[in-house]
């Protein structure tokens, strides 16, 4: 748990709020006003802002290590100076995971606040805010995706970027409706594919839905253990990658 990394990552984001960020927030607010005006259900919008692709997006944009002016894909050089300090790479990863969690939570809350504000402005009859268990899920999922984002950031920038896209597409697939298609083939192939796909989803996804868990007719520990295990695995892989990486700042 490194204090310097924690404080200064936050400071980085606070100091580098660019015009683009503000433009995005304003545009989102306008969009939300429009949605509130046309009477759209805010629950769906809230669900959207707390969904995995968004959390991944927020987390990735929050976790920039250093706002370099030049080509920010040469991040090895930044790490070169950082790791000559007495700082274990594992504490760096863990601190980063915590920071990204807090940051993602802050950004999500900001957008949820915007939703509430838009409803207020549009004089909606009853203001629908996020309810208790969903907020707990949001917090917990922020940590889950914090771990994923940290893993993506420890990879060399180009690879990390591509992995981000792959992960985003997996999240989109997961969050869309899930169905099995009846094929005119041997049932065992279909069955095997289903099994594999479900296994992948279960394995990769650091997500808990407390709302569902609490209201379930049959409470199991499985989702919680799955989630915790996934998070720890991501952290371990991130630390391992960072340990193995070599940081060269040489010109050649």
């Amino acid at each position: 748990m490194n204090r310097a990394v924690f404080i200064f990552t936050f400071l980085l984001k606070l100091s580098t709020v660019s015009k683009l960020d503000i433009a995005i927030v304003v545009l989102t607010f306008i969009g939300l006003l429009g949605a509130a005006y046309s009477g759209k259900e805010p629950t769906a919008i809230i669900e959207g802002f707390t969904s995995p692709p968004f959390l991944l997006f927020f987390g990735y944009s929050f976790s920039q290590d250093v706002a370099l002016n030049s080509n920010s894909l040469r991040d090895g050089e930044y790490f070169a100076l950082l790791f000559t300090r007495p700082l274990t790479r594992s504490s760096y990863v863990l601190t980063k995971a915590l920071v990204v969690t807090c940051g993602t939570l802050a950004i999500s809350s900001l957008f949820l606040g915007l939703v509430g504000l838009s409803e207020l402005v549009m004089h909606a009859k009853n203001i629908v805010l996020i309810d208790g268990w969903r907020f707990v899920s949001l917090t917990v999922n922020c940590f889950g995706f914090g771990c994923v984002v940290v893993l993506l950031r420890t990879l060399p920038a180009k690879i990390g970027f591509r992995c981000l896209f792959i992960f985003l597409s997996i999240c989109m697939l997961n969050s869309s409706t899930d169905f099995s298609v009846k094929m005119d083939q041997d049932a065992s192939i279909v069955y095997a594919w289903e099994y594999f796909a479900t296994f992948l989803q279960n394995f990769l996804y650091p997500v808990i839905d407390f709302d569902a868990l609490v209201h379930s007719t049959r409470f199991t520990w499985q989702p919680i253990i799955d989630y915790a295990s996934n998070c720890l695995i991501y952290l371990m892989i991130a630390i391992y990658i960072l340990n193995k990486r070599e940081f060269s700042y040489a010109e050649n």
Binding site: I7, F8, S15, E77, Y78, P86, S91, F247, A250
Partner: protein
């Protein structure tokens, strides 16, 4: 408007920083083994640990890329003593930077090992006493100079009690102008960046300093600052390892010089002309005409080596600086009209080019 918001947020964050500083005990780490050696500013108390004679020991270090095709380092052997200033000289691509990165733990050698005070380079004990100035400093452009040094102060694990004062002291030492200290780093010139880099090294109170081409592209004032800082470190007993192309700079500050060529250290030469080391003295005279015979006579009666260069200049090889008065007395007794007697400063350069041609030829 956005700037005002950001500034307000920054001020708020700074307040949080101070809050954290006062609560620094909460998140203290438990696994630091060695205490650091504070040895830079003479007014601080110097806590030294009994010095191991060889601080850095590099044995048979090799670093290959692309599964053996590119040999960045090939069997490097070097031993660096505590408290000495050693320069690494070599052409571009010789492996100086690679060697330095291996010593810093940024690269993993393919074979061989490096021991710093008995530890591997990637040990916290080593990192605590290390400071590093990279060749092209890429500091966080969004930070101001002061904030950057505060960041590194916190990173080096020191308690926050005197942080602000120490930051100011470091900035004063490198003579960074007051107006620049609160500007963002992305507006700094190269000279200022280099000075800030030095300040960043000073902040950690190191006893092992690595500098990669510290004076390349600098103006004379900045170069002087770099040199003064290195000499100050030397006076305090720190070990400094220097990569450079500027041979005169190297000669002025370094105790020893290592020549690297194609990933291999050819030669380690002392610049100080210690006792027992050969010193080359160039002599230039105005007359008499048979000066050559007289010089040969001097050489035969003493243990000096002689190399006649031109009609009016020659080079004497002495066995040490202590023989210089003997040489001058001998020249005067032989009634040579001495114009100039000086140490062959181009010595290093000759060695450098000689080793180059040896490998090329």
């Amino acid at each position: 408007m956005a700037k005002a918001v950001a500034r307000a947020a920054l001020a708020g964050a700074r307040a949080a920083l101070i809050g954290f500083a006062l609560s620094h005990q909460v998140l203290e780490r438990r696994h630091l083994i060695l205490k650091p050696r504070y040895s830079i500013h003479s007014c601080d108390t110097v806590t030294t640990i009994p010095v191991v004679t060889s601080m850095i020991k590099i044995s048979n270090l090799s670093k290959f890329y692309k599964s053996g095709k590119v040999k960045a380092l090939d069997g490097v052997e070097l031993s660096i003593n505590a408290g000495e200033v050693i320069g690494l000289i070599g052409p571009n691509g010789a492996g100086k930077t690679t060697l330095m990165q291996c010593m810093l733990g940024l690269l993993r050698p393919t074979s061989g090992d490096i021991l710093i005070n008995g530890f591997v380079p990637n040990h916290l004990a080593v990192k605590k006493i290390t400071a590093f100035l990279p060749e092209r400093p890429l500091f966080e452009g969004w930070m101001t100079g002061r904030l950057f040094l505060r960041y590194h102060h916190m990173l080096s694990g020191q308690p926050d009690v005197n942080a602000a004062a120490e930051v100011e002291k470091a900035l004063d030492e490198v003579q960074l102008q007051e107006s620049a200290r609160d500007r963002r780093i992305k507006t700094y010139s190269k000279g200022m960046l280099q000075r800030l880099g030095l300040a960043q090294m000073l902040i950690g109170k190191p006893s092992l300093c690595f500098l990669d081409e510290p004076t390349s592209g600098l103006d004379p004032i900045s170069r002087n600052i770099v040199r003064d800082t290195i000499l100050k470190w030397k006076a305090d007993g720190a070990t400094v390892i220097l990569n450079s192309h500027h041979l005169d700079e190297v000669e002025r500050v370094c105790d020893r010089v290592a020549f690297i060529q194609k990933g291999h250290i050819d030669l380690v030469q002392s610049t100080r002309g210690l006792e027992g080391e050969t010193v080359a003295m160039l002599v230039k005279w105005a007359g008499p005409a048979n000066a050559h015979e007289r010089l040969k006579e001097i050489a035969s009666h003493s243990s000096f080596g002689l190399e006649l260069l031109t009609e009016k200049s020659a080079c004497f090889k002495l066995r040490g600086r202590q023989e210089m008065p003997l040489l001058i007395r001998a020249l005067i007794d032989a009634q040579v009209d001495i114009e100039e007697v000086f140490e062959d400063r181009a010595h290093l350069e000759k060695l450098f080019t000689a080793s180059q041609s040896r490998d090329a030829g």
